[in-house]
Every structure is written in structure tokens, then in C-alpha cells.
Symmetry: C2
Amino acid sequence: MEAYRCILTKREVRTFLPQEVPQETILQILEAGRWSGSSRNRQPWHFVVVRDRQRLRQLAQFGRFARHVADAAFAVAVVVEAERDAFDAGRCAQNMMLAAWALGIGSCPTVMHSEAQAKEFLGIPPSRKLAIVLAFGYPAKKRKSLAERAVYRVLLGKGRKPLAEIVSWERFGATKFEVQ
Amino acid sequence: MEAYRCILTKREVRTFLPQEVPQETILQILEAGRWSGSSRNRQPWHFVVVRDRQRLRQLAQFGRFARHVADAAFAVAVVVEAERDAFDAGRCAQNMMLAAWALGIGSCPTVMHSEAQAKEFLGIPPSRKLAIVLAFGYPAKKRKSLAERAVYRVLLGKGRKPLAEIVSWERFGATKFEVQ
């Protein structure tokens, strides 16, 4: 898949086919995380891969919106050293999710609201921070039709804010865009 | 550029050619940030684009390792609502930097250590958080030779930790990988 297209089309996927992801594909996705840049190249991350179905179901109980983790082909818990590594964790997670998307695999970042319990379950030392859990799997739903997507966008507030609303030029608030 | 290749080859670039990036290319890069996923699709970001050379030089003074910002073709200050948005800011920044990379443009995330001053300079309300400044431009250096890269990796601790060192299976610390 072409890179720019991959970035623009990537959507969060929460409904997965009951189909395993080959181990070499999992490794390719982890490799994309491994090569992420980080502040002073500290690479503050550790990835805990969960593939066991029973463990995925248990893991799903630690987040308020984590039910889809139970049905994922696998999950990757991104563990970092401290809270200040959240930005780098985001870069690293995006790398893995985009690599997955390019390989036809959907994903969704999932917050573990009961972080202490999730960490205990995963064997993560209390001193480390569980930045996020990424759920991965082959998407179960077909691409929505244009009409469905319009409804989804309007009723559920999906889609994105227009660029004109989120971009300033030279100074915050100077949103007027002049074509040069 | 193919997506997976783009993700794996992306490196931080701090030395830029004195060459402008066309406005439509800047917009393409911003668009990649706009389409990033975020927690509950809140899209907590605002992008302040700085292109004026004098302002880029001034901006470069607010970070301890930000000298390259002075030579960038443009910079994007990623402003978010609060500290908790750092993870989403990382996803969004990675989208923009990968899109740039696919378009032949290098980039480097740059911390503004004097955050309050940088915010004032950019006109960012005190209530918002300046997550990062991304410097963009056409890379000035040719790709390093294999020998140069080996030296760089060994002497400067560049490259990345091996996958076996940063991945656990099912539980943190269970790093033994068994081929299935």
C-alpha cells in the first residue's frame, strides 16, 4: 500500500474476524514499532504481546471500552518507563498500527482504566507505565457505503474537523489561509 | 513510497537544504495529521505553521537542542488541550512526519524547553499545552554509507535495540520467543 494513502485511510477497527494473524506478520508489526524514533533515541518501550484467547478475554476486563480486545487476534501492551514517554509511545503505536493497516490488519488503541490491575495481570513492574494496549485483527466489517459513512459522520460526530479550523499560520489564532 | 518501507526507513533529519517546500505539500502533511486517530475522536490538536525565516530563527531559541529549527523550511507546533493528550499528539506527529518522509521531506520532533516563552511567542493560550515542534525540510545530507552508518551506530549508540530485548510474550519478562 502506498504510504500516504495508508496514513489517510487508517481507521480504528474494533470488530475482528476470528482468524489468526501469522506470527511473521506479528513480528513485522513489532518491527515497525521498534524502528520508531524517540527522544534522544531512548527507545523507552517494551511490548507485551498477548495471543492466548483466554488471556485476551481477561485483559479486556481492565478497560471501560475494551470489549473488542477479547476478540482481537492479538494485543500489544506498550509499556514505557514513565508518564513523560507518552508522546514517544504515541509515535511508536502509530508506526505499528500503520504497518498493520498496510498489511490488511485493523487495530484500535485501548486504554486500560484499571491500570494497576492490568499491569499486575501482565506482570509489568509497578515502576513502569502501561501507555496503551493495541488490539489487532483482520477487520470483520466490510467498508461502509458512502451513505452509511455520511450518517456515521453526522450522527456520531465521526470524521475530522476541517483543516481551516485546526491550522494557524505563524501565530495561534491566525487561521486565515492565503494561497500563495 | 510503499507504506511499510516508509515506516522502517524514517529517520530524524536535522540538516536541511535551503529550499522551500511548496505550500500544497505543506497542506498534504497537515492533512496527514488531521486524519490521525485520537481518543474518542476528540482531535485535541491545533497546528501552528511557521514559515517566516526570522520567526523560525526566534523559535529555535526556545529549545536546548533546537538549532535546526532555524534552518527548517517550515515548522509545525502541535498544540493540544492538556498533558493527557501527549499520546495522541505522538500519533498525530508521526502521521505528519511519515507523510513528509514519503514525499521526500525530512523532519525532527523538537522539545521547546522554554515552553512558556515559546507559547507566548506563538500566541498560544496559557491553558493549552505545546506538545512538540516538528521541523521539516528537504534533507541536506546524502544517505550515509554502510560504513559510516556502522560507526554512527556503534559510537553514538544509534540504531535500535534488538526485538528480542524489547518484546515479551503473554507476560512482561517472558522474552523467550518460540517459533510456531
